[in-house]
Amino acid sequence: MAPQAQHVSDPPSAAVADDDRTATKPVRRRRPPSAVTGAVYPVTFLALLTVAWFVVTATELVQPYIIPSPGDTWSTFTDHGAYLWEHTLVTTGETVAGFVIAAVVGILVAVLMVYSPALEKTFYPLILFAQVVPKIAIAPLFVVWLGFGTSPKILVAVLMAFFPVVISGISGLRSVDPELLELTSTMGASRLKTFWKVRFPAALPELLSGLKVAATLAVTGAVVGEFVGANSGLGYVILQANGNIDTPMLFAALIIMSALGVLLFALIQLAEMLLIPWHASRRNRV
């Protein structure tokens, strides 16, 4: 549009010229914040924490069996690498399986509940019950039902991760502008098409926040399941190390578990960046 003087007697472009002052120029989509600059603060903080850890253990402010030195913990990683790796794989498998099942079932249930008030009334108390029942208390029951294999651990992970997926899914699917839905009803499109082109994309921001929470809870669920009855996995490693008062091993297992949670969280964050670059929560982040 050529910038033009405002002549009201020149209808084709008169109106345009003025309004442009208030319009943002079409800018390129903003790049996601650089991973390097974004990582400065947490990395610095972690480094300081490690230094404090060094100081505390080197000065023997606390006994090594209470807080092992960073060196001892590091040696555990190098000396027992294969052992830790094996059990990490087990827990990772359970966590990922639990998370994926919770995500798929959770989204399905959310969709059903949003589309059918009858199903919503039916499911809601059940879901609430599944959420409030202490997972650590119900885990032994799963062992009785499903044995000592990986399935009871996956089930606890599912149970932990399910709730945030359903809740965020429902609220995301409900966040669609009702006028937009009315508009689509004048377009004669099928409900399925409306779902894929309007409701689901509109639900993504909230759904992805729910999935982030779910991912971290899935790790906890898997480890809780392992506490109750397992001969493998990081929960098992922790119980063993605890019995032997092997705090370096305990620390090593804790570090791996946290790393696992952070990794899953980061993966969903990445998905967020790719799937919803238009969303305000990402746009305004620096």
Binding site: S13, A15, A23, E179, T186, A280, R283
Partner: protein, 277 residues
């Protein structure tokens, strides 16, 4: 030609479409009552209104007098408790595909570009892609959106967003364009510009428009006929044919004696029906 295939459910009376100049919208004895708890709100009472083909009808009235409800009844989004509505001679029995709707909020899809939002209309209707793209480009040029095709909604001002919404409503060549306070959220200057532009588009295309507004000046400047509604129950109080030149220069129209006579009469009526909001 594509829009003509887009008929609402249960509207089969095609012949009316071939009757040039016949009424586009016929509203006969329409009542709408909403039941909330044990109270009943009479939103509309015995509405009789005909919109001719190619007419620009504006509806002015205080808040809550049923203006939105009336538009929704025409589009088939709300069913009347009594009475009948017909579009192009075929009765409105459910959401109609042969209308274009513009709301006060642009209601755009945040994740699509301006052009993508306009083409959304075509995708939902399954219209031929090449045709839709060409039409979208034409409409964007008509509304001054050229250059903003790839802009995301959050990058656009309120006025630009509403232009996108207007293009989306026009993409499928609807028989009637329904606008519910489309410029109500815009600042005064942008609103004025949008009025000038909408009038220009109407002068060029000769489409049928029903526009609901709070602004008396907007109602009279834009329309070929203005309807004033009153509240409790929502009803038509009076109609004014707006006998002003077909091509309306904004500044000159505002100074026109006939324009001023109508607007002051409308203001009087609105003042006497309800407190101004």
């Amino acid at each position: 030609m594509f829009a003509k295939t887009g008929e609402g459910a249960g509207s089969g009376a095609e012949p009316a479409a071939h009757r040039p100049g016949g009424p586009m919208v016929e509203i006969r004895g329409v009542d709408v009552a909403f039941r909330t708890g044990d109270r009943t709100v009479q939103a509309l009472s015995s509405i009789e209104l005909t919109v001719e083909r190619g007419e620009f009808l504006s509806i002015a009235g205080p808040s809550g007098c049923g203006k939105s409800t009336l538009l929704r009844v025409v589009a088939g989004l709300t069913s009347p408790t009594a009475g009948e509505v017909a579009l192009r001679g075929s009765p409105v029995l459910g959401p109609r595909r042969d209308v274009g709707f513009v709301f006060q909020r642009a209601a755009l899809l945040d994740w699509r570009t301006a052009r993508g939002n306009i083409l959304f209309q075509a995708e939902m209707r399954g219209l031929p892609k090449a045709w839709a793209r060409k039409r979208a480009d034409e409409l964007m040029e008509l509304t001054g959106l050229t250059g903003f095709e790839k802009a995301m909604p959050f990058e656009l001002s309120g006025g630009m967003q509403q232009r996108v919404s207007l293009c989306r409503a026009l993409l499928h060549e609807p028989d009637v364009l329904l606008m519910d306070e489309p410029f109500g959220a815009l600042d005064a200057l942008t609103r004025e510009n949008m009025n000038i532009e909408l009038r220009r588009i109407w002068e060029r295309t000769g489409m049928t428009v029903v526009l609901v507004t709070h602004s008396v000046a907007e109602a009279v400047y834009l329309a070929s006929r203005t309807v004033v509604m009153g509240p409790r129950p929502g009803r038509v109080i009076e109609e004014f044919p707006v006998e002003l030149p077909g091509h309306r220069d904004y500044e000159r129209t505002l100074k026109n004696a006939e324009f001023q006579r109508i607007t002051s009469r409308v203001r009087e009526l609105l003042g006497s029906t309800a407190p101004a909001d």
